[in-house]
């Protein structure tokens, strides 16, 4: 009774072995770039990979932001069968390394041979390294800037407002707009969007050094401090500039409100640009893309792929090829043109990019020199997920209630303390 079953199992198994020995390089890639431009950009990488004799097994997980992807990924890792590469970023890379599923860092060889240390800025390079930041175990594909403020130029012009360069100017402009019956700030009060606005305010009101101490180093006397109280005061003010339909609204719906002129400003990462350009609106002409007020700060979010530990030699070769192609000039350029971000690799010519991206690249270089280049917490670059989540909970609770700023600062420190 069980014999045919066993025979077929053996057949399947041997079939698998034949397949794997035919291909010298193979890679199974888990990602959540399944829609529009992102999928088209990824196809460039797939084609490159195939051209170089690789066999790509796609493991797309639909459902933006990768919530579903995380569940799939963890199940695979716990079962001892991780994919060759997965879309993981920030300190989570090192967290996986500490769990022992990344060693022995096969791609470090490639990185050494191609001199990645010279191609990436130091901050970005460090995010890609495991084993106490000594060996490459991941490859970056782009840099998103988070602290952008988007504005509808027509609305600003009609009300005689210029782009604000300080938070006080912003508040004054917002009051004026509100009196004129325009929603000053288009916002979707979902936890991650609240956190996105919050970090821009921390950077602007607190300053670069304060951001580092409070959000990156998690110093208790910075988290619960008069400066933090001031930051929460500004958050409360921002909340009064939103409309009542804001809780739960998706970010692109909020962007749409700016595009239609129903609202004036939105604070959102540079993926918002795609919404404007898809509607044939031009930067500088129809809409503004400028950084939120800060002292030359720059909050970055680097998308990257981690390379897990695999045994099979064809999979190791696949990983190496993949890492090399991801860092290739061609892919970095094409992918970022589609995605609205800028290349992680520093030597990619920026000629074909629009003025927002060019501005972003110039600001990045300046911020890297002056100490304003800082990791975004809301997008998982600054902190491990547990601490990030704890801060996000307090921020969104404060934003959506009448909690006092003092209490919010106290709770912030408490929540972080509890996760350490």
């Amino acid at each position: 009774m069980f014999k045919p079953f066993a025979v077929s199992l053996a057949l399947i198994a041997s079939g698998g072995m034949i397949a794997s020995s035919t291909w010298a390089k193979e890679a199974e890639v888990l990602h959540w770039w399944t829609s529009g431009g992102e999928a088209a950009a990824l196809k460039v990488l797939k084609d490159d990979f195939a051209k170089n004799g690789g066999s790509w097994t796609d493991m797309p997980v639909a459902g933006g932001g990768g919530d579903a992807a995380m569940q799939t990924l963890k199940a695979r890792i716990v079962a001892g069968d991780p994919p060759a590469a997965a879309q993981i970023k920030g300190p989570t890379i090192q967290e996986y390394d500490e769990a022992g599923v990344v060693e022995p860092y096969h791609v470090d060889e490639v990185a050494g041979a191609e001199g990645w240390d010279n191609l990436l800025s130091k901050q970005v390079a460090n995010h890609m390294k495991c084993d106490d930041f000594t060996k490459y175990c991941a490859a970056p594909v782009n840099i998103h800037r988070i602290d952008w403020i988007w504005a509808n130029k027509k609305v600003l012009d009609a009300n005689g407002i210029s782009m604000p360069t300080t938070w006080d100017e912003f508040n004054a402009a917002a009051r004026k707009l509100k009196a004129a019956g325009i929603i000053p700030l288009a916002h979707g009060s979902q936890p991650w969007q609240d956190a996105t606005v919050f970090e821009a305010v921390v950077l602007g009101v607190g300053g670069n050094e304060f951001y580092q101490r409070a959000i990156v180093d998690l110093e208790m006397d910075a988290l619960n401090s008069p400066t933090m109280v001031k930051i929460f005061d500004q958050m409360r003010l921002l909340q009064s500039f939103t409309d009542e339909g804001s809780p739960g609204r998706d970010w692109n719906v909020a962007t749409g409100m700016v595009m239609e002129g129903k609202a004036a400003f939105q604070i959102m990462g540079d993926w918002a640009k795609g919404e404007f350009t898809n509607a044939k609106m031009k930067p500088g002409v129809d809409f503004y893309c400028l950084p939120t007020p800060s002292n030359h700060g720059y909050l970055y979010n680097v998308d990257s792929f981690i390379f897990y530990s695999v045994d099979d030699s064809s999979k190791v070769e696949g990983q190496k090829l993949l890492a090399s192609l991801m860092m290739g000039k061609n892919f970095q350029k094409v992918f970022n043109l589609y995605k609205g971000s800028i290349p992680a690799r520093l030597d990619v010519p920026m000629d074909e990019f629009d003025m927002c991206a060019k501005g972003s690249a110039a600001d990045l270089n300046y911020a890297a020199m002056t100490g304003g280049l800082l990791p975004s917490f809301a997008h998982g670059m600054a902190l491990r997920l547990a601490q990030k989540g704890a801060i996000q909970d307090v921020v969104t609770e404060h934003f959506n209630s009448n909690m006092s700023s003092q209490e919010a600062a106290r709770k912030l420190a408490q929540a972080v303390q509890d996760t350490l």
Binding site: V78, Q190, S246, R384, F399, S401
Partner: protein, 311 residues
Amino acid sequence: MISGDPRVPSSRNSYCPRSDTMDWLQKNLPRMVVAPSFAAILWFVYGFILWTIYVSMTKSKLLPIYKFWGLGQHFRLWRMDRWYVAVENLFIFTVLFLIICIIIGVLLAVLLDQKIRAEGFLRTVYLYPMALSFIVTGTAWKWILNPTLGVQKLVRDWGFTEFTFDWLVSRDMSIYTIVIAGVWQSSGFVMAMFLAGLRSVDDEIIKAAKIDGASLFSTYTTIIIPMLRPVFMSAVVILCHISIKSYDLIVALTAGGPGTSSDMPAVFMTQMAFHRSEIGLASASATIMFITVTAIIIPYLYSELRRDNAR
């Protein structure tokens, strides 16, 4: 089956002597067929319940680790404001969801039971929401309840500019929007259960009550509905477990917001396990949910089984 029983003489089989193998198969085949699914349930349900309980007593963060730690995760869990919000919401939701579903379900069932015209059609109409997934229900209600898109805007556009219905975006009221959507989805199902129960009540009893001069109202309240006790019990158990595991409805309708004001334990657990690298904490919350379900189901099973034995 019967032909395999040696005590039953069978004319056909008596011509060909049966081999021992066939005998053995006949006796053991049912067990062999059931065994794999039994083993699978044992491992995948009960095995993993034990696994989760164990993991809740470790320091697991990103991936499960198996070094015993103790009850630390449970202490952390019960120190979190967010968990209290989730538990409180579960309590509010379960109580209201149960009571309103049963009241509406019984009312609809009684009304439909009056031998009205087009009963089949109406029954389908009320039962239909059950065929939708909670995601669809949640998304539809999200639009209906959104103050800038739905009911509030509609009524204001009619000229009542002061009209306010902003429960969805209000911290204090958001949990009740989940009750509304949940009730809309499930009360038809409760109606179907009670309708089946009403139909099984003996007509003779109703006639006897009529002859004794009981009004229709008192016939229902004092005779028929008390006879439906088992239906009530089943409805309570089914609705309870819908509410404890409710996840998709919340994700689609409020995503736990505004802030974390409409959080529920199942949402909390998924967030902690898959978005926060807090597998230990998530397991602790799962364990609490499991204990809650057990606390409801076991007394129910006990009372049901005892009654069966007594008969």
